[in-house]
C-alpha cells in the first residue's frame, strides 16, 4: 500500500487568506493512500521542511505532495527535503494552489477552496503512480564562449578566466570595447570612460586563459549544457595579424576615405583601418566594400608599403569549430532608429539633431572634433542646446513601452558638459519624469540643475529648421503653457534596443526573447543571469536596458554562475527524459520529426520471431540531448514514447482525478 504524505501551505495570507486550508487538508486527506495530512504557515521555511522530514520518518511515508506555490519556485527545495529523509527525490509532486488558484481567485474564496482541493487531488493521483528516478552523469567541457566584446563580455570573460577556466571572447567588430569605449565620461563620478575601459580591454586580451576572436561571428551552435559545439566565422581581414606589427603605415597611405561607422558618421577613416588608437587588437582590417584593390583590382598601396608583407588580398572567411561547456550572451544594445518614426523631429533630415551617442563622440577628447562641441552642420559651437528625453522610450505610439534607464543620467551629464565647456551657453532639457535611482545619481542631477540646466517638464511636439536655428516647440506642463526654444543643436536621448542581429543570436543559441527582443532571464528576480536553456547565461544590456555599473555587476554574476558550473567534473542530467518502449515501437519515426532537440535517432534491433532472427528499426533517445519536452510522446501513435516523470499513465491518472 502506498503511503502518501500531504502538506498544504498557507503561504502566510497568500494562500491562507483565500483558500480554506484546513478544509482542503481534511477533504483531500481522504484520498486513497494518504497516510498523513497537515498544513503549515510557510512550508518552505526551515521548520516547515523539518516537519516534512519528521513526518516521513514517523509515518513511514514513501511519497509526498506539497500544495503551495509554483514548482518553478520550490520544487527543487522540496525534492531536497524529502531526499534528506531518505526518499528518492522524484517521489514527489507539487500542487500549485497559489499562482493557479488563490492569486487569481482572490474574490471567490469558496470556489477557490474547491479548486484547491481538486488541484491537490490531481497531485495525489499522480504521486500514487510515480517511481524513483535516478540522475545520470555526463562529462563537461571546461571552456566558455562569451558572445560580445563590450564591457559586459569583457568583464564576464575576465572573471571566468580569473577563476581558472578557458574563455573564447567573440566580437563581430574589428575591436573589442563596445559602446562604453566610445563614451566620454561616465556618470556620476565623471571618470573618463576610455581610461577605465581600455585597461580592461588590454587585460582581457592578454589573459592567458582568454582566446580573443574579433571580426568574427557565431554561425552555428549544437549540443547542450556542458557539451556545446559552436561554429564561428572568422571574417576575412585581408591582413595577416600574425605578422602585422600594427605600425599604421598602411592606414596612412591608403587613398580611400570613407565615413567611420565607429564615429557614427561624424568622422572619417580609411578603407584599411584601425577603429581607434587604443583598439584591441591594435591591428588593421580592410573594409572590402570600399577597398579599391578588392573592388577593381587596382591600387594595392597598403601591400606595397607594408614592411612585413602582412597584406593578403587572397584571405577568405574561415569557419572554426570550438567545443565549450557554457555560453555567456553579452550582445549589448543599439540605439532605437528614431529617424524612421519621429517625423516631428525631422526624420533625421536636420543635421544638427543628433543622438546622445553622437554627443559622446563629439565631447570625447579622442573623438572626431577633439572634444570640442561643434554642431555637425557648420562646425560652429552651439550656444543653445536642447535635450529631448524619452525618444522612443516610454512612447507606446511610436517607440517602446519601457524606460531605457540610463538616459536621465547621461542627459544630466551632457547638459553639465555643455554648461562647463561652452561659455554663456544654455542647456534645456525636455523631460517626462526624472528617474535617477542609484548611488549619488540624484545628487548629480540636482547639481546639473543648480548649474543652470533648464529642466522643462513636457514633450516636444516639433523640431524644425528655421534658417540656421532649430526651433523646438514643446509644452511646459508645470506652467501649463506652450514653449518655444531656439536651439543651435538638439540632442535626443534615444531608447536602447537589442543590438542588431540579437534575434539571430537567440535563435542560434536557443534562448527566448521578450516582446521587445531583449533576452529573457530564467526568473526576473531570483535567476536574473540564467536563461531557461541550461548552460547559457546573460550579461548586460542584451537582457534589458541598464547602465555601466549594473552591466558590470550582472556580468560578474553570470561569470560566477559559469564558474560554479565549470567547477564540477561532470554534470548531473535531469532524469525526466523520454524513453522508447522498443517492444511496441513500430519504427515510424514520427517522434524524430517532431523532436526540437534532434535527440531521437534510428536504431536497428534484431529479435526472434517464430524461430527466425528479424532485423527492424526502432526509435532511440539520446539521453544527453533530450530535454524532456514530451513532443515525442504526443506524436507516438502507440504510446511507445514515454516521458519519465510524466508517463502516459501518470497524466491519465491526473486527468481522471480532475475530471471524474
Amino acid at each position: 500500500m502506498k503511503r502518501i504524505g500531504l502538506f498544504v501551505c498557507w503561504c502566510g495570507s497568500n494562500i491562507g487568506g483565500v483558500v480554506d486550508v484546513p478544509r482542503a487538508v481534511q477533504e483531500a486527506g481522504n484520498f486513497p493512500g494518504v497516510a498523513y495530512a497537515t498544513d503549515y504557515k510557510y512550508m518552505c521555511s526551515e521548520p516547515g521542511q523539518d516537519m516534512i522530514v519528521k513526518a516521513i520518518e514517523e509515518h513511514n511515508l514513501d511519497r509526498v505532495v506539497v500544495a503551495s506555490c509554483t514548482p518553478m519556485l520550490h520544487e527543487p527545495t522540496f525534492r531536497k527535503t524529502i531526499a534528506r529523509a531518505g526518499l528518492n527525490p522524484y517521489m514527489f509532486e507539487m500542487a500549485n494552489i497559489r499562482e493557479q488558484c488563490s492569486w487569481v481567485h482572490s474574490q471567490e474564496p469558496e470556489k477557490a477552496t474547491k479548486k484547491a482541493i481538486a488541484l491537490i487531488r490531481r497531485a495525489l493521483a499522480k504521486v500514487s503512480k510515480v517511481e524513483p528516478l535516478f540522475e545520470s552523469y555526463i562529462p563537461l567541457t571546461k571552456r566558455t564562449l562569451v558572445i560580445g566584446g563590450g564591457i559586459a563580455g569583457i568583464q564576464a570573460a575576465i572573471d571566468i578566466a580569473d577563476n581558472g577556466h578557458e574563455v573564447i571572447l567573440l566580437e563581430r567588430e574589428p575591436t573589442i570595447g563596445g559602446k562604453m569605449v566610445k563614451l566620454d565620461k561616465t556618470f556620476p563620478t565623471m571618470d573618463c570612460s576610455a581610461c577605465i575601459s581600455t585597461p580592461k580591454m588590454v587585460q582581457v586580451a592578454q589573459h592567458p586563459n582568454v582566446k580573443l576572436m574579433t571580426y568574427a561571428e557565431l554561425t552555428e551552435v549544437n549540443g547542450y549544457i556542458g557539451n556545446f559545439e559552436v561554429t564561428i566565422k572568422q571574417k576575412a581581414r585581408y591582413v595577416d595579424h600574425s605578422v602585422c606589427t600594427g605600425c599604421g603605415i598602411c592606414t596612412e597611405k591608403c587613398p580611400t576615405k570613407v565615413l567611420s561607422s565607429y564615429e557614427l558618421g561624424l568622422g572619417t577613416r580609411k578603407a584599411i583601418y584601425i577603429e581607434f588608437p587604443q583598439a584591441v587588437p591594435n591591428k588593421p582590417v580592410i573594409d572590402p566594400e570600399n577597398c579599391r584593390y578588392l573592388k577593381t583590382g587596382k591600387c594595392g598601396v597598403c601591400a606595397k608599403v607594408c614592411p612585413t608583407g602582412a597584406i593578403d588580398f587572397e584571405q577568405k572567411d574561415e569557419f572554426i569549430t570550438e567545443k565549450v561547456g557554457s555560453i555567456v550572451v553579452a550582445t549589448g544594445y543599439d540605439l532605437f532608429k528614431w529617424e524612421e518614426v519621429y517625423g516631428e523631429y525631422g526624420y533625421g533630415r536636420y543635421k544638427d539633431v543628433i543622438t546622445g551617442l553622437h554627443f559622446e563622440r563629439m565631447v570625447n577628447a579622442s573623438g572626431p572634433t577633439d572634444g570640442k562641441i561643434k554642431r555637425p552642420s557648420d562646425g560652429k559651437e552651439p550656444k543653445s542646446v536642447v535635450f529631448i528625453k524619452c525618444v522612443g522610450s516610454r512612447d507606446e505610439n511610436k517607440g517602446k513601452t519601457y524606460c531605457s534607464r540610463a538616459c536621465c543620467m547621461y542627459t544630466a551629464k551632457h547638459a553639465h558638459q555643455v554648461l562647463e565647456k561652452i561659455p554663456d551657453s544654455n542647456a534645456y532639457i525636455f523631460y517626462m519624469d526624472i528617474r535617477t535611482p542609484g548611488k549619488l545619481y540624484d545628487e548629480f542631477y540636482r547639481r546639473t540643475a543648480l548649474e543652470g540646466a533648464q529642466y522643462i517638464r513636457g514633450r516636444v511636439s516639433k523640431v524644425y529648421q528655421s534658417g540656421d536655428k532649430l526651433v523646438v516647440m514643446g509644452t511646459d506642463t508645470l506652467l501649463g503653457r506652450p514653449v518655444q526654444v531656439e536651439a543651435d543643436m538638439v540632442v535626443l536621448a534615444t531608447a536602447m534596443v537589442p543590438s542588431e542581429g540579437a534575434d539571430k543570436t537567440a535563435q542560434l543559441v536557443g534562448i527566448s526573447a521578450d516582446k521587445d527582443g531583449f533576452f529573457t532571464e530564467a526568473h526576473p528576480k531570483l535567476r536574473p543571469v540564467e536563461t531557461m536553456t541550461g548552460g547559457v547565461f546573460l550579461a548586460g544590456t542584451c537582457q534589458g536596458p541598464k547602465d555601466i555599473p549594473d552591466t558590470v555587476s550582472q556580468s560578474s554574476g553570470a561569470a560566477a554562475k559559469v564558474s560554479a558550473l565549470l567547477s564540477k567534473d561532470e554534470l548531473a542530467t535531469d532524469p525526466m527524459i523520454s524513453s522508447i518502449n522498443e517492444k511496441i515501437c513500430s519504427g515510424c519515426l514520427a517522434c524524430k520529426a517532431v523532436c526540437p532537440y534532434k535527440a531521437i535517432e534510428e536504431k536497428k534491433i534484431s529479435e526472434k520471431v517464430r524461430g527466425k532472427v528479424v532485423e527492424r528499426v526502432v526509435a532511440s533517445v539520446n539521453t544527453g540531448l533530450c530535454q524532456g519536452c514530451g513532443c515525442c510522446t504526443v506524436a507516438c501513435r502507440i504510446g511507445a514514447a514515454n516521458l519519465k516523470g510524466y508517463t502516459n499513465e501518470q497524466v491519465i491518472a491526473e486527468v481522471d482525478a480532475l475530471c471524474l
Binding site: G343, E344, G346, Y347, R349, K462, Y464, S466, G467, V471
Partner: protein
C-alpha cells in the same frame, strides 16, 4: 473613374475658383464627378464641439446618399474630408454609434464606400497620365506646398503618406514642372476655423507659416482646401495690418496650377478672384 462628389459649402462662395478648377482638371484627367443629390452640411468646425452624435450624423447622411449611388466619395475640402472620413471610420467600427446615427438620419448606412480627398484621387493617377496633360510647365514657381492640419491627421483616419512631412502635393506640383520647397510648416494649423472669432490668434499662426514659407525660398504657396486658402489668402492684409508685416504671397489652389500647366486660360482659372495679387509670380510662368 467615377466618384460621388461632395462639393462642400464653400464651393459656391469663397471657394468658387477651387470648385471650378477641380471640375475642369478632373474632366481633363478622365475623372468623372457625380454630384451627390441633396447633399447637406458636413458639420465641420462647429458640430464636434456641440455633440458627438451630431458630428457623426451630419457627414453620415451624405455617406449614406453616396452609398445609394454605389460610388466612393471624393471631396475637395480638407475639413469636409476629415469629417466624412472620421464618420466613415466610426460608422464602420462602432456598431452602437452606427445604430444611433442611422436612426437619426433615417438612412441605413452599411459602410461599403471609401472617402477620398481630391488630392488623393488625382495624386494616385499614373504620373504619365498627368504628365501627358502638362503642356505648359510651371517654370519659375517655387512652391511651398501647404497641406494644412486636417487633411493628413490623424494618420489612423486619413492614411496619407506621412503626417509630419507629406509629399503627395509636392509630387503633383513637380509633375507640373514647378519646384517645391522643403519647409517645416506643411501641416501647421493656419487657424482657419478661428478666422472670424479670434483674429489675433489667427494672425500669429499665419505669420509663422508665411515666415517659414519665405525662408525656404518659396515665391508662392499652394493649398488644397477652401478654408486654408481663404485664410492664407484673405487674411494676409489683416496680418500685415495687425503685426506690421509686409507679406504679399500669392496663394494658389493646386487645381488652378494644374489647370495652368494644362494650358487653360487665366480667365477660366479665376486668378483674379484672389485677395493677394498673383500677377507677378504668374509672369514667371509666362
Amino acid at each position: 473613374m467615377r466618384y460621388a462628389y461632395y462639393p462642400g459649402c464653400s464651393s459656391d462662395t469663397t471657394g468658387k475658383e477651387y470648385e471650378a478648377t477641380v471640375r475642369i482638371v478632373c474632366k481633363n484627367l478622365g475623372i468623372e464627378l457625380v454630384d451627390i443629390p441633396d447633399w447637406s452640411c458636413c458639420g465641420a468646425t462647429a458640430a464636434h464641439g456641440k455633440s458627438h452624435l451630431l458630428n457623426t450624423a451630419l457627414p453620415a447622411r451624405n455617406l449614406a446618399l453616396a452609398e445609394e449611388m454605389g460610388l466612393d466619395v471624393v471631396t475637395p475640402c480638407a475639413a469636409c474630408y476629415q469629417q466624412l472620413a472620421t464618420a466613415n471610420k466610426e460608422m464602420k467600427e462602432n456598431q452602437q454609434i452606427a445604430e444611433k446615427v442611422n436612426q437619426a438620419t433615417g438612412k441605413n448606412y452599411q459602410g461599403t464606400i471609401k472617402v477620398k480627398s481630391i488630392v488623393e484621387v488625382i495624386g494616385s493617377l499614373e504620373p504619365d497620365i498627368i504628365k501627358a496633360q502638362m503642356v505648359k510647365p510651371l517654370k519659375g514657381l517655387k512652391i511651398a506646398a501647404y497641406y494644412g492640419c486636417l487633411m493628413v491627421r490623424p494618420p489612423s483616419v486619413t492614411g496619407f503618406d506621412d503626417a509630419e512631412n507629406p509629399m503627395f502635393l509636392d509630387n503633383l506640383m513637380r509633375l507640373a514642372g514647378a519646384e517645391t520647397m522643403d519647409w517645416p510648416h506643411k501641416t501647421e494649423c493656419c487657424g482657419g476655423a478661428l478666422q472670424v472669432s479670434n483674429e489675433h490668434i489667427v494672425v500669429k499662426l499665419l505669420d509663422k507659416i508665411y515666415k517659414e514659407a519665405l525662408k525656404s525660398g518659396a515665391n508662392c504657396m499652394v493649398a488644397a482646401c477652401p478654408l486654408c486658402h481663404f485664410n492664407l489668402d484673405g487674411c494676409q492684409s489683416t496680418c500685415n495690418r495687425l503685426l506690421g508685416t509686409t507679406y504679399e504671397i500669392p496663394i494658389f489652389y493646386f487645381t488652378q496650377l494644374l489647370g495652368l500647366a494644362m494650358g487653360l486660360n487665366q480667365q477660366e482659372l479665376q486668378f483674379n478672384s484672389h485677395f493677394t495679387d498673383t500677377r507677378k509670380v504668374l509672369k514667371l510662368v509666362g
